[in-house]
Subunit: 203 residues, 2 copies
DNA sequence: AAGTAAACTCACCGATGAGTGTAGCTGCAT
DNA sequence: ATGCAGCTACACTCATCGGTGAGTTTACTT
Protein backbone atom coordinates (compact mmCIF):
# COMPACT_ATOMS: atom_id res chain seq x y z
CA UNK A 1 0.00 0.00 0.00
CA UNK A 2 2.18 2.75 1.33
CA UNK A 3 -0.81 4.93 0.57
CA UNK A 4 -0.04 8.25 2.12
CA UNK A 5 2.12 8.75 5.14
CA UNK A 6 -0.29 11.23 6.64
CA UNK A 7 -3.19 8.90 5.99
CA UNK A 8 -1.46 5.98 7.68
CA UNK A 9 -0.64 8.17 10.61
CA UNK A 10 -4.23 9.28 10.84
CA UNK A 11 -5.42 5.69 10.76
CA UNK A 12 -3.08 4.76 13.58
CA UNK A 13 -4.29 7.74 15.56
CA UNK A 14 -7.89 6.73 14.90
CA UNK A 15 -7.24 3.18 16.06
CA UNK A 16 -5.48 4.53 19.13
CA UNK A 17 -8.44 6.77 19.85
CA UNK A 18 -10.92 3.92 19.53
CA UNK A 19 -9.00 1.56 21.75
CA UNK A 20 -7.55 3.94 24.33
CA UNK A 21 -10.91 5.59 24.92
CA UNK A 22 -12.73 2.29 25.04
CA UNK A 23 -10.35 0.32 27.22
CA UNK A 24 -7.88 2.62 28.85
CA UNK A 25 -4.22 3.43 28.33
CA UNK A 26 -2.24 0.70 29.98
CA UNK A 27 -4.43 -2.20 29.02
CA UNK A 28 -4.26 -1.53 25.28
CA UNK A 29 -1.15 -2.77 23.53
CA UNK A 30 0.52 -1.38 20.48
CA UNK A 31 0.01 -4.75 18.84
CA UNK A 32 -3.71 -4.30 19.01
CA UNK A 33 -3.58 -0.72 17.82
CA UNK A 34 -1.41 -1.73 14.89
CA UNK A 35 -3.75 -4.59 14.03
CA UNK A 36 -6.77 -2.31 14.15
CA UNK A 37 -5.05 0.29 12.01
CA UNK A 38 -4.12 -2.42 9.52
CA UNK A 39 -0.40 -1.87 9.82
CA UNK A 40 2.58 -3.49 11.43
CA UNK A 41 3.75 -2.52 14.86
CA UNK A 42 6.96 -1.32 13.32
CA UNK A 43 4.96 1.11 11.21
CA UNK A 44 3.50 2.51 14.39
CA UNK A 45 7.02 3.00 15.64
CA UNK A 46 7.90 4.67 12.41
CA UNK A 47 5.29 7.34 13.02
CA UNK A 48 5.56 7.58 16.79
CA UNK A 49 8.60 7.43 18.99
CA UNK A 50 7.03 5.30 21.71
CA UNK A 51 3.77 4.30 23.26
CA UNK A 52 3.95 7.28 25.60
CA UNK A 53 4.43 9.51 22.61
CA UNK A 54 1.39 8.01 20.89
CA UNK A 55 -0.61 8.50 24.07
CA UNK A 56 0.23 12.17 24.09
CA UNK A 57 -0.59 12.60 20.42
CA UNK A 58 -3.85 10.75 20.79
CA UNK A 59 -5.02 13.09 23.53
CA UNK A 60 -3.70 16.10 21.69
CA UNK A 61 -5.75 15.16 18.65
CA UNK A 62 -8.86 14.93 20.81
CA UNK A 63 -8.59 18.43 22.23
CA UNK A 64 -10.23 20.29 19.38
CA UNK A 65 -13.08 17.88 18.66
CA UNK A 66 -14.02 17.46 22.31
CA UNK A 67 -14.13 21.17 23.04
CA UNK A 68 -16.09 21.67 19.85
CA UNK A 69 -18.64 19.08 20.87
CA UNK A 70 -19.26 20.78 24.20
CA UNK A 71 -19.56 24.11 22.42
CA UNK A 72 -22.20 22.63 20.17
CA UNK A 73 -24.00 21.10 23.08
CA UNK A 74 -24.07 24.42 24.89
CA UNK A 75 -25.10 26.41 21.83
CA UNK A 76 -24.58 30.11 21.42
CA UNK A 77 -27.93 31.52 22.40
CA UNK A 78 -29.38 32.49 25.74
CA UNK A 79 -27.79 32.93 29.12
CA UNK A 80 -24.92 30.84 30.39
CA UNK A 81 -27.39 29.06 32.65
CA UNK A 82 -29.48 28.11 29.65
CA UNK A 83 -26.42 26.93 27.79
CA UNK A 84 -25.36 24.80 30.71
CA UNK A 85 -28.81 23.31 30.90
CA UNK A 86 -28.61 22.29 27.26
CA UNK A 87 -25.08 21.04 27.66
CA UNK A 88 -25.86 18.81 30.62
CA UNK A 89 -28.95 17.51 28.91
CA UNK A 90 -26.84 16.45 25.96
CA UNK A 91 -24.27 14.99 28.28
CA UNK A 92 -26.93 12.90 29.93
CA UNK A 93 -28.05 11.69 26.53
CA UNK A 94 -24.54 10.84 25.46
CA UNK A 95 -23.83 8.98 28.69
CA UNK A 96 -26.66 6.57 27.93
CA UNK A 97 -24.62 5.15 25.06
CA UNK A 98 -23.00 1.93 26.27
CA UNK A 99 -19.81 3.01 24.53
CA UNK A 100 -19.65 6.19 26.56
CA UNK A 101 -16.72 6.11 28.95
CA UNK A 102 -16.65 9.58 30.45
CA UNK A 103 -13.92 12.10 29.74
CA UNK A 104 -10.82 10.67 28.11
CA UNK A 105 -8.70 13.45 29.57
CA UNK A 106 -9.81 12.78 33.12
CA UNK A 107 -9.32 9.07 32.70
CA UNK A 108 -5.87 9.58 31.24
CA UNK A 109 -4.94 11.88 34.10
CA UNK A 110 -6.16 9.30 36.61
CA UNK A 111 -4.24 6.51 34.99
CA UNK A 112 -1.10 8.63 34.78
CA UNK A 113 -1.46 10.14 38.23
CA UNK A 114 1.91 8.74 39.23
CA UNK A 115 3.63 10.28 36.20
CA UNK A 116 2.85 14.01 36.35
CA UNK A 117 5.53 14.67 33.74
CA UNK A 118 3.98 12.37 31.17
CA UNK A 119 3.21 14.10 27.86
CA UNK A 120 -0.41 12.93 27.98
CA UNK A 121 -0.82 14.36 31.48
CA UNK A 122 0.36 17.70 30.20
CA UNK A 123 -2.16 17.58 27.37
CA UNK A 124 -4.95 16.80 29.82
CA UNK A 125 -3.96 19.86 31.85
CA UNK A 126 -3.99 21.95 28.74
CA UNK A 127 -7.42 20.75 27.73
CA UNK A 128 -8.94 21.49 31.10
CA UNK A 129 -7.37 24.93 31.18
CA UNK A 130 -8.76 25.61 27.71
CA UNK A 131 -12.18 24.44 28.78
CA UNK A 132 -12.09 26.70 31.80
CA UNK A 133 -11.12 29.61 29.58
CA UNK A 134 -14.07 28.93 27.32
CA UNK A 135 -16.42 28.94 30.30
CA UNK A 136 -14.93 32.15 31.60
CA UNK A 137 -15.26 33.90 28.27
CA UNK A 138 -18.95 32.96 28.18
CA UNK A 139 -19.44 34.37 31.65
CA UNK A 140 -17.59 37.52 30.76
CA UNK A 141 -19.72 37.99 27.67
CA UNK A 142 -22.65 37.89 30.01
CA UNK A 143 -21.08 40.64 32.07
CA UNK A 144 -20.32 38.63 35.15
CA UNK A 145 -17.86 40.26 37.48
CA UNK A 146 -16.94 37.02 39.21
CA UNK A 147 -16.37 35.09 36.03
CA UNK A 148 -13.07 33.63 37.14
CA UNK A 149 -14.14 31.69 40.24
CA UNK A 150 -17.45 30.91 38.61
CA UNK A 151 -15.84 29.39 35.54
CA UNK A 152 -13.66 27.26 37.75
CA UNK A 153 -16.68 26.14 39.73
CA UNK A 154 -18.52 25.22 36.55
CA UNK A 155 -15.56 23.18 35.37
CA UNK A 156 -15.37 21.39 38.70
CA UNK A 157 -19.06 20.58 38.61
CA UNK A 158 -18.86 19.27 35.08
CA UNK A 159 -15.94 16.99 35.83
CA UNK A 160 -17.60 15.77 38.99
CA UNK A 161 -20.82 15.07 37.15
CA UNK A 162 -18.98 13.13 34.45
CA UNK A 163 -17.07 11.08 37.00
CA UNK A 164 -20.14 10.26 39.04
CA UNK A 165 -22.12 9.37 35.94
CA UNK A 166 -19.32 7.05 34.95
CA UNK A 167 -19.11 5.44 38.37
CA UNK A 168 -22.82 4.86 38.78
CA UNK A 169 -23.61 4.49 35.11
CA UNK A 170 -26.75 6.51 35.70
CA UNK A 171 -27.46 9.74 33.93
CA UNK A 172 -29.14 11.13 37.02
CA UNK A 173 -25.76 12.36 38.08
CA UNK A 174 -25.25 14.25 34.84
CA UNK A 175 -28.60 15.95 35.32
CA UNK A 176 -27.84 16.65 38.96
CA UNK A 177 -24.63 18.31 37.85
CA UNK A 178 -26.59 20.50 35.49
CA UNK A 179 -28.92 21.59 38.24
CA UNK A 180 -26.02 22.34 40.54
CA UNK A 181 -24.38 24.45 37.85
CA UNK A 182 -27.57 26.39 37.24
CA UNK A 183 -28.17 26.88 40.93
CA UNK A 184 -24.68 28.26 41.30
CA UNK A 185 -25.19 30.65 38.41
CA UNK A 186 -28.32 31.98 40.06
CA UNK A 187 -26.67 32.00 43.46
CA UNK A 188 -26.09 34.84 45.87
CA UNK A 189 -22.48 35.35 44.92
CA UNK A 190 -23.36 36.34 41.41
CA UNK A 191 -24.28 39.73 40.06
CA UNK A 192 -25.94 39.10 36.75
CA UNK A 193 -26.65 42.60 35.45
CA UNK A 194 -29.61 41.85 33.23
CA UNK A 195 -31.17 38.51 32.55
CA UNK A 196 -31.96 39.59 28.99
CA UNK A 197 -28.36 39.95 27.93
CA UNK A 198 -28.80 38.82 24.35
CA UNK A 199 -26.09 40.88 22.76
CA UNK A 200 -23.97 37.76 22.70
CA UNK A 201 -25.30 36.65 19.38
CA UNK A 202 -27.14 37.83 16.32
CA UNK A 203 -29.50 34.91 16.29
CA UNK B 1 7.57 -17.90 59.12
CA UNK B 2 3.96 -18.95 58.78
CA UNK B 3 3.28 -16.19 61.27
CA UNK B 4 -0.44 -15.66 61.29
CA UNK B 5 -2.67 -16.10 58.32
CA UNK B 6 -4.67 -12.98 59.07
CA UNK B 7 -1.50 -10.98 59.52
CA UNK B 8 -0.05 -12.15 56.23
CA UNK B 9 -3.29 -11.29 54.53
CA UNK B 10 -3.23 -7.85 56.09
CA UNK B 11 0.33 -7.31 54.94
CA UNK B 12 -0.59 -8.24 51.39
CA UNK B 13 -3.52 -5.88 51.52
CA UNK B 14 -1.28 -3.13 52.84
CA UNK B 15 1.23 -3.67 50.08
CA UNK B 16 -1.59 -3.67 47.55
CA UNK B 17 -2.89 -0.43 48.99
CA UNK B 18 0.51 1.23 48.83
CA UNK B 19 1.20 0.22 45.27
CA UNK B 20 -2.26 0.41 43.73
CA UNK B 21 -2.86 3.86 45.15
CA UNK B 22 0.58 5.08 44.20
CA UNK B 23 0.81 3.69 40.69
CA UNK B 24 -2.58 2.53 39.52
CA UNK B 25 -4.23 -0.81 39.05
CA UNK B 26 -3.03 -2.22 35.75
CA UNK B 27 0.55 -1.10 36.00
CA UNK B 28 1.22 -2.80 39.33
CA UNK B 29 1.98 -6.50 39.13
CA UNK B 30 1.29 -9.15 41.71
CA UNK B 31 5.00 -9.89 41.71
CA UNK B 32 5.70 -6.44 43.04
CA UNK B 33 2.92 -6.62 45.59
CA UNK B 34 4.18 -9.98 46.80
CA UNK B 35 7.72 -8.66 47.02
CA UNK B 36 6.60 -5.62 48.99
CA UNK B 37 4.53 -7.74 51.34
CA UNK B 38 7.51 -10.01 51.85
CA UNK B 39 5.77 -13.12 50.57
CA UNK B 40 5.71 -15.23 47.44
CA UNK B 41 3.25 -14.66 44.66
CA UNK B 42 1.80 -18.06 45.42
CA UNK B 43 0.99 -16.89 48.92
CA UNK B 44 -0.92 -14.00 47.43
CA UNK B 45 -2.89 -16.50 45.39
CA UNK B 46 -3.55 -18.52 48.50
CA UNK B 47 -5.27 -15.54 50.11
CA UNK B 48 -6.88 -14.06 47.02
CA UNK B 49 -8.46 -15.79 44.11
CA UNK B 50 -7.07 -13.47 41.44
CA UNK B 51 -5.72 -10.02 40.83
CA UNK B 52 -9.23 -8.75 40.19
CA UNK B 53 -10.30 -10.21 43.50
CA UNK B 54 -7.41 -8.50 45.28
CA UNK B 55 -8.33 -5.24 43.58
CA UNK B 56 -11.84 -5.48 44.94
CA UNK B 57 -10.68 -6.34 48.42
CA UNK B 58 -8.16 -3.54 48.42
CA UNK B 59 -10.83 -0.98 47.62
CA UNK B 60 -13.27 -2.58 50.03
CA UNK B 61 -10.72 -2.25 52.81
CA UNK B 62 -10.29 1.43 52.02
CA UNK B 63 -13.97 2.31 52.31
CA UNK B 64 -14.11 2.71 56.05
CA UNK B 65 -10.84 4.59 56.58
CA UNK B 66 -11.46 7.00 53.71
CA UNK B 67 -14.95 7.92 54.82
CA UNK B 68 -13.67 8.29 58.36
CA UNK B 69 -10.95 10.64 57.23
CA UNK B 70 -13.43 12.91 55.50
CA UNK B 71 -15.65 12.81 58.56
CA UNK B 72 -12.73 13.95 60.67
CA UNK B 73 -11.84 16.65 58.22
CA UNK B 74 -15.38 17.98 58.27
CA UNK B 75 -15.74 17.75 62.03
CA UNK B 76 -19.03 17.60 63.86
CA UNK B 77 -19.58 21.21 64.84
CA UNK B 78 -21.18 24.10 63.04
CA UNK B 79 -23.24 24.26 59.90
CA UNK B 80 -22.73 22.03 56.92
CA UNK B 81 -21.19 24.98 55.14
CA UNK B 82 -18.64 25.34 57.91
CA UNK B 83 -17.89 21.65 57.81
CA UNK B 84 -17.38 21.76 54.09
CA UNK B 85 -15.07 24.69 54.48
CA UNK B 86 -12.92 22.73 56.94
CA UNK B 87 -13.06 19.63 54.80
CA UNK B 88 -11.89 21.35 51.65
CA UNK B 89 -9.18 23.15 53.55
CA UNK B 90 -7.86 19.83 54.76
CA UNK B 91 -8.19 18.39 51.29
CA UNK B 92 -6.10 21.23 49.92
CA UNK B 93 -3.47 20.53 52.58
CA UNK B 94 -3.44 16.82 51.83
CA UNK B 95 -3.16 17.41 48.10
CA UNK B 96 0.11 19.24 48.63
CA UNK B 97 1.74 15.97 49.64
CA UNK B 98 3.65 14.67 46.61
CA UNK B 99 2.34 11.20 47.41
CA UNK B 100 -1.24 12.39 47.12
CA UNK B 101 -2.93 10.87 44.09
CA UNK B 102 -6.54 11.94 44.43
CA UNK B 103 -9.35 9.54 45.16
CA UNK B 104 -8.50 5.88 44.78
CA UNK B 105 -12.13 5.03 44.08
CA UNK B 106 -12.43 7.50 41.25
CA UNK B 107 -9.16 6.39 39.76
CA UNK B 108 -10.17 2.76 39.99
CA UNK B 109 -13.50 3.52 38.33
CA UNK B 110 -11.71 5.39 35.55
CA UNK B 111 -9.27 2.58 34.95
CA UNK B 112 -12.06 0.01 34.97
CA UNK B 113 -14.48 2.08 32.93
CA UNK B 114 -14.63 -0.64 30.30
CA UNK B 115 -15.46 -3.32 32.88
CA UNK B 116 -18.56 -2.06 34.72
CA UNK B 117 -19.06 -5.49 36.23
CA UNK B 118 -15.66 -5.59 37.85
CA UNK B 119 -15.80 -6.16 41.62
CA UNK B 120 -13.67 -3.08 42.26
CA UNK B 121 -16.04 -0.96 40.18
CA UNK B 122 -18.92 -2.15 42.31
CA UNK B 123 -17.02 -1.20 45.47
CA UNK B 124 -16.33 2.26 44.07
CA UNK B 125 -20.04 2.72 43.42
CA UNK B 126 -20.80 1.61 46.94
CA UNK B 127 -18.32 4.03 48.43
CA UNK B 128 -19.68 6.99 46.52
CA UNK B 129 -23.23 6.08 47.46
CA UNK B 130 -22.18 5.84 51.09
CA UNK B 131 -20.46 9.19 50.88
CA UNK B 132 -23.55 10.78 49.40
CA UNK B 133 -25.65 9.30 52.20
CA UNK B 134 -23.34 10.81 54.78
CA UNK B 135 -23.65 14.21 53.16
CA UNK B 136 -27.41 13.92 53.01
CA UNK B 137 -27.69 12.95 56.66
CA UNK B 138 -25.69 16.03 57.60
CA UNK B 139 -27.99 18.22 55.55
CA UNK B 140 -31.05 16.60 57.06
CA UNK B 141 -29.70 17.14 60.55
CA UNK B 142 -29.53 20.77 59.62
CA UNK B 143 -33.16 20.66 58.63
CA UNK B 144 -32.70 21.12 54.90
CA UNK B 145 -35.72 20.19 52.88
CA UNK B 146 -33.75 19.73 49.66
CA UNK B 147 -31.10 17.54 51.22
CA UNK B 148 -31.24 14.95 48.48
CA UNK B 149 -30.29 17.02 45.42
CA UNK B 150 -27.99 19.11 47.58
CA UNK B 151 -26.08 16.10 48.85
CA UNK B 152 -25.65 14.90 45.30
CA UNK B 153 -24.43 18.31 44.25
CA UNK B 154 -21.92 18.38 47.09
CA UNK B 155 -20.61 14.96 46.09
CA UNK B 156 -20.26 16.05 42.49
CA UNK B 157 -18.38 19.17 43.49
CA UNK B 158 -16.05 17.23 45.74
CA UNK B 159 -15.19 14.70 43.06
CA UNK B 160 -14.72 17.42 40.50
CA UNK B 161 -12.44 19.34 42.83
CA UNK B 162 -10.36 16.25 43.53
CA UNK B 163 -10.03 15.43 39.85
CA UNK B 164 -9.07 18.96 38.88
CA UNK B 165 -6.59 19.20 41.71
CA UNK B 166 -5.06 15.96 40.49
CA UNK B 167 -4.91 17.10 36.88
CA UNK B 168 -3.38 20.49 37.60
CA UNK B 169 -1.53 19.50 40.73
CA UNK B 170 -2.54 22.80 42.25
CA UNK B 171 -4.55 23.06 45.40
CA UNK B 172 -6.34 26.13 44.07
CA UNK B 173 -8.86 23.78 42.58
CA UNK B 174 -9.53 22.12 45.91
CA UNK B 175 -10.15 25.50 47.47
CA UNK B 176 -12.29 26.58 44.52
CA UNK B 177 -14.38 23.47 45.06
CA UNK B 178 -14.88 24.42 48.67
CA UNK B 179 -16.07 27.86 47.72
CA UNK B 180 -18.45 26.43 45.15
CA UNK B 181 -19.87 24.05 47.73
CA UNK B 182 -20.39 26.84 50.23
CA UNK B 183 -21.93 29.11 47.62
CA UNK B 184 -24.35 26.37 46.73
CA UNK B 185 -25.29 25.84 50.36
CA UNK B 186 -26.07 29.52 50.69
CA UNK B 187 -27.77 29.60 47.32
CA UNK B 188 -31.30 30.61 46.40
CA UNK B 189 -32.58 27.07 46.09
CA UNK B 190 -31.92 26.40 49.72
CA UNK B 191 -34.15 27.10 52.68
CA UNK B 192 -31.87 27.04 55.65
CA UNK B 193 -34.26 27.57 58.56
CA UNK B 194 -31.91 29.38 60.90
CA UNK B 195 -28.25 30.10 60.43
CA UNK B 196 -27.66 29.43 64.12
CA UNK B 197 -28.76 25.84 63.94
CA UNK B 198 -26.37 24.48 66.51
CA UNK B 199 -28.56 21.74 67.89
CA UNK B 200 -26.54 19.33 65.81
CA UNK B 201 -24.03 18.86 68.55
CA UNK B 202 -23.41 19.45 72.22
CA UNK B 203 -20.08 21.17 71.68
C1' DA C 1 17.17 3.35 -16.10
C1' DA C 2 19.45 4.00 -11.94
C1' DG C 3 19.48 5.99 -7.47
C1' DT C 4 17.50 7.27 -3.22
C1' DA C 5 14.89 8.27 0.69
C1' DA C 6 10.54 7.64 2.79
C1' DA C 7 7.21 4.19 4.16
C1' DC C 8 6.45 -0.15 5.29
C1' DT C 9 6.68 -5.57 6.46
C1' DC C 10 8.34 -9.89 8.71
C1' DA C 11 10.41 -12.03 12.19
C1' DC C 12 12.33 -11.53 16.25
C1' DC C 13 14.20 -10.04 21.29
C1' DG C 14 14.43 -9.91 26.34
C1' DA C 15 11.41 -8.82 29.97
C1' DT C 16 7.49 -9.38 32.42
C1' DG C 17 2.58 -10.41 32.99
C1' DA C 18 -1.05 -13.60 35.53
C1' DG C 19 -1.49 -17.83 37.19
C1' DT C 20 0.06 -22.93 38.78
C1' DG C 21 2.23 -27.74 40.36
C1' DT C 22 4.61 -29.59 43.79
C1' DA C 23 6.85 -29.95 47.75
C1' DG C 24 8.13 -28.34 52.41
C1' DC C 25 7.22 -26.07 56.73
C1' DT C 26 4.44 -24.80 60.89
C1' DG C 27 1.39 -25.48 64.77
C1' DC C 28 -2.34 -28.08 66.77
C1' DA C 29 -5.36 -31.90 67.90
C1' DT C 30 -5.24 -36.64 69.00
C1' DA D 1 4.73 -39.18 67.88
C1' DT D 2 1.83 -38.52 64.40
C1' DG D 3 -1.54 -37.01 61.24
C1' DC D 4 -3.37 -33.20 58.98
C1' DA D 5 -4.71 -28.64 58.18
C1' DG D 6 -3.18 -24.14 57.05
C1' DC D 7 0.37 -21.67 55.04
C1' DT D 8 4.51 -20.59 52.36
C1' DA D 9 8.61 -21.26 49.03
C1' DC D 10 10.70 -22.47 44.58
C1' DA D 11 10.42 -23.14 40.05
C1' DC D 12 7.85 -23.18 36.38
C1' DT D 13 4.18 -22.30 32.09
C1' DC D 14 2.37 -19.74 28.49
C1' DA D 15 0.97 -15.39 26.65
C1' DT D 16 1.94 -10.86 25.79
C1' DC D 17 4.36 -6.67 26.38
C1' DG D 18 7.26 -2.57 24.36
C1' DG D 19 10.62 -2.21 21.27
C1' DT D 20 14.04 -3.56 17.29
C1' DG D 21 17.16 -5.43 13.10
C1' DA D 22 17.23 -6.14 8.61
C1' DG D 23 15.29 -6.18 4.50
C1' DT D 24 11.46 -4.75 0.92
C1' DT D 25 8.32 -1.85 -1.63
C1' DT D 26 6.81 2.68 -3.30
C1' DA D 27 7.25 7.24 -5.36
C1' DC D 28 9.97 10.64 -6.90
C1' DT D 29 14.26 12.57 -8.79
C1' DT D 30 17.82 12.90 -12.20
Amino acid sequence: MAADAALTRAQILQAADDLFYAEGLASVSLDRIAARAGVTKKTVYYHFRSKDDLLGEYLQARRGPVLERYRNWAGTTGTVAERMRRMYRKLAEASADPNWRGCGFIRAACELAHLPGHPAAAVARLHKAEFETWLRSMLEEEGRSDSEPLARALLIILDGAIVETLIHRRRDYALAGGEAAIALLHGPVERQPAEKDVRTLAA
